[in-house]
Amino acid sequence: MAGLKTIIVLSFILAIGFLLVILSSALWKNYLPLLVVATYVVAPIPNWICGRAANPDDFMESSGSVLIDFGRFLTGFFVVMGIALPSLFAHCALIQYPAMIMSIVGGLLIYGTIISFTMFFQEENEF
């Protein structure tokens, strides 16, 4: 399923996302939108860490599922932060509105790439 085509398409989308975010910063010589990239790179990390730390095999033990929930909560937090941060900057006149749109679209593309990448490559080592 995860063939060569998938990898090529995903890397193109990732490159477009980075292009948009970097343009949104460099066009106005204001490098605050780069924080969006940091947010979206950090976003899946709580899920990974908590997924490793918790044992998904025991259903009766609630402590494992609490850790997983905490990771998901943090991931949801970071994903919305990636959208909220540029709009906050634009609302407070720290960046321009076109820069906000470009960085949000670019950030969503980057995050979508990360998510679909993990989805494609987790399917193989399951079971």
Binding site: D69, F73, G76, V79, V80, L85, C92
Partner: protein, 172 residues
């Protein structure tokens, strides 16, 4: 299993207890919390930005309701829900259920206090002196932020209570 003593005509939809709904609920809760948090951060950043024409700024007083709400969320969702009804079982001694209810009450009080406090701050600091809208936004954003944090906590609570039935179905 609850089909025999159902109260309403419509059956409970099957997706309510699925694991996917639970996962989505937890993500939604985090998203709502983040949205609330950034509504308030937006207000405080706006008050220090060049666009704020007035001399009124967001000070520590505006932060207190948000801190109360966040603490309340933390307290409410740290409690093990199965301990709340523990008095009916014989194996739980030392009044676990009583302590759990006390801590839960503290959590709900913190959260309600946060929401009420945000309304108080909006009225006393921004509405009574009759500030126009860019300044009034600090108070409105504070109320929105606290309401969203409360909503996030409610979603997390409902979703965590769903888990029990889900695991029960698995165990049978």
């Amino acid at each position: 299993m609850m089909a025999s003593h159902r109260l309403f005509r419509f059956p409970k939809p099957a997706w309510i207890n699925s694991a996917n709904t639970r996962t989505a609920g937890v993500y939604l809760s985090g998203a709502l919390f983040s949205l609330g948090f950034f509504f308030f951060v937006d207000a405080s950043a706006y008050s220090r930005s060049a666009k704020n024409g007035s001399t009124v700024h967001v000070t520590f007083v505006d932060w207190i309701p948000g801190i109360c709400s966040a603490l309340g969320t933390l307290v409410i969702n740290s409690i093990d829900k199965s301990r709340l009804g523990a008095d009916s079982f014989s194996y739980s001694g030392n009044g676990v259920a009583w302590k759990a209810r006390l801590v839960l009450f503290l959590g709900f009080a913190l959260m309600a206090g946060g929401l009420a406090g945000s309304v108080t701050v909006m009225i006393l600091k921004y509405i009574v002196p009759e500030y126009p809208f860019p300044t009034l936004w600090f108070g409105v954003a504070n109320v929105i932020a606290n309401a969203l944090i409360m909503l996030s906590s409610a979603v997390l609570w409902v979703v965590q209570n769903m888990e029990d039935e889900y695991t029960y179905n698995l165990a049978l």
